[in-house]
């Protein structure tokens, strides 16, 4: 109480903030300089054809013993097709057409162009040849036998919808049960069919879908976490990274890379 009585008589004075201001002026530029606005991550890769190392030779011998129990999952990537192989057999190939999204400064270009191997597309307005650095993202749209782009429904979070058998869904009615392609799959009971968008079926999503099916079927295989990605010479690195993402999200974290020989 004594304090309060004293305060009543005193005039309100500003706190001297100069010291604190000095601190701020020094700290903020320092933190801005050291701030990381884009964070880097890494992907672990095993070399499949390891040479000159004793540990590897031992591993190889071991793997030869139980070869018949092994899954030996392989994803083969070429310019227009992805094929999955397991247990010495191959699943039906997944054909796709590459579409590249280009973003360029002149003419505020942001467009999706069909890709033909070995040829850079031209700017739709100026006719200039676009450079690889203007390529922003690569989309792979799955094709059917007649090379028409397949469609599928996607949630508003960009997850593909499948039915109970893992087949992509094209249209839904209220009351249907569908599954969103997350890991594990999320069950959705459709109340409003209008909330899903029909989009071209992405080959990455379909690949993830198929890999998840394989994972579910061969949960007790010896090499249940391993996948080999075999690519052709012309495949762009970006595509391999996206396919590695699909493999990792389908619980195949031990990724090896190998070369597809013609």
């Amino acid at each position: 109480m004594a304090n309060k009585l004293k305060m009543n008589g005193a005039e309100a004075t500003d706190v001297d903030l100069k010291v604190f201001m000095n601190l701020m002026v020094v700290l903020i530029p320092m933190l801005i300089v050291s701030a990381e606005f884009a964070s880097v991550a890494v992907i672990d890769i095993k070399l499949p054809e390891l040479r000159g190392s004793n540990i590897v030779d031992q591993q190889k011998e071991k793997s030869d013993e139980n070869r018949d129990e092994k899954l030996l999952l392989t994803a083969i990537i070429t310019d227009s097709v992805v094929t999955l192989g397991a247990k010495g057999g191959f699943m039906p190939s997944l054909f796709y057409q590459e579409y590249h999204r280009y973003i360029s400064k002149d003419g505020n270009l942001d467009t999706l162009l069909e890709y033909t191997p070995g040829k850079m597309p031209t700017h739709p307005h100026t006719g200039r040849e676009l450079t690889v650095h203007e390529r922003f993202e690569i989309y792979l749209y799955a094709l059917d036998e007649n090379r028409n782009v397949l469609k599928s429904l996607y949630t508003k979070f960009g997850e593909m919808l499948t039915d109970a058998d893992g087949v992509p869904v094209r249209n839904v009615n209220a009351g249907d049960t569908v599954f969103a392609l997350t890991n594990p799959r999320r069950r959705i009971i459709v109340t409003n069919p209008g909330e899903f968008d029909s989009k071209p079926l992405s080959a990455y999503d379909e690949l993830k879908n198929r890999l998840m099916k394989i994972k579910e079927r061969y949960r007790d295989a010896v090499d249940k976490d391993d996948i080999i990605i075999a690519a052709e010479n012309e495949v762009i690195y970006d595509k391999i990274v996206q396919i590695m993402d699909a493999a990792r999200s389908a619980e195949f974290p031990n990724i090896s890379i190998s070369k597809l020989r013609g």
């Binding site: 890769i45 993402d245 990792r248």
Partner: protein, 164 residues
């Protein structure tokens, strides 16, 4: 000269709002602050691909950067990427000779450090930063060269995707 003399009056500025802004900025920047610095090589034409990987790069002593023009080892140009492209694709065991020489020197250093007790074991670890438009052919030749030189533990650097 009297006009330069300042009139004496008590002008005080209200800096409370400025302080608010600065405090919020300070908190935001402290939240973003990470003690382990960036390992990224800043090259003009080195754009890393986006990925969903959340794995953070660990401490590593060697990094290779592959741009459209040059292959760099620890930020020093080693060999033009064109040279790697020129190795015939049919080659079963393609080696980029200049890169291999440099890698072997690094490997020898690592062995020396183990001998002196500075390292526990030879890690053979390397971070590879590859431009996203590089074709697999070049990538494979680099991987093969690394494997041959004893660098079996490879990490590909990618950008973390910030959207969902």
């Amino acid at each position: 000269m009297g006009r330069f003399r300042r009139k004496k009056h008590n002008a005080s500025m209200n800096i409370t709002s400025l302080m608010d802004v600065l405090t919020i900025m300070l908190l935001f920047l402290l939240k973003n602050y990470s003690a382990d610095g960036s390992i990224l090589t800043n090259a003009d034409n080195l754009v890393l691909p986006n990925s969903e990987s959340k794995k953070k790069p660990t401490e590593v002593n060697l990094q290779i950067a592959v741009t459209q023009d040059m292959i760099l080892l620890d930020n020093q140009p080693v060999v033009p990427t064109e040279d790697a492209r020129n190795i015939p694709q049919e080659e079963a065991d393609p080696i980029i000779i200049k890169l291999e020489e440099r890698l072997k020197v690094c490997m020898a250093q690592e062995h020396e450090m183990v001998r002196l007790g500075a390292l526990n074991a030879v890690q053979g670890k390397v971070i590879v930063q590859v431009d996203k438009n590089i074709d697999f052919d070049v990538l494979f030749k680099i991987m093969n060269t690394c494997g041959k030189s004893g660098y079996n533990n490879m990490n590909f650097a990618v950008m973390e995707r910030d959207d969902g």
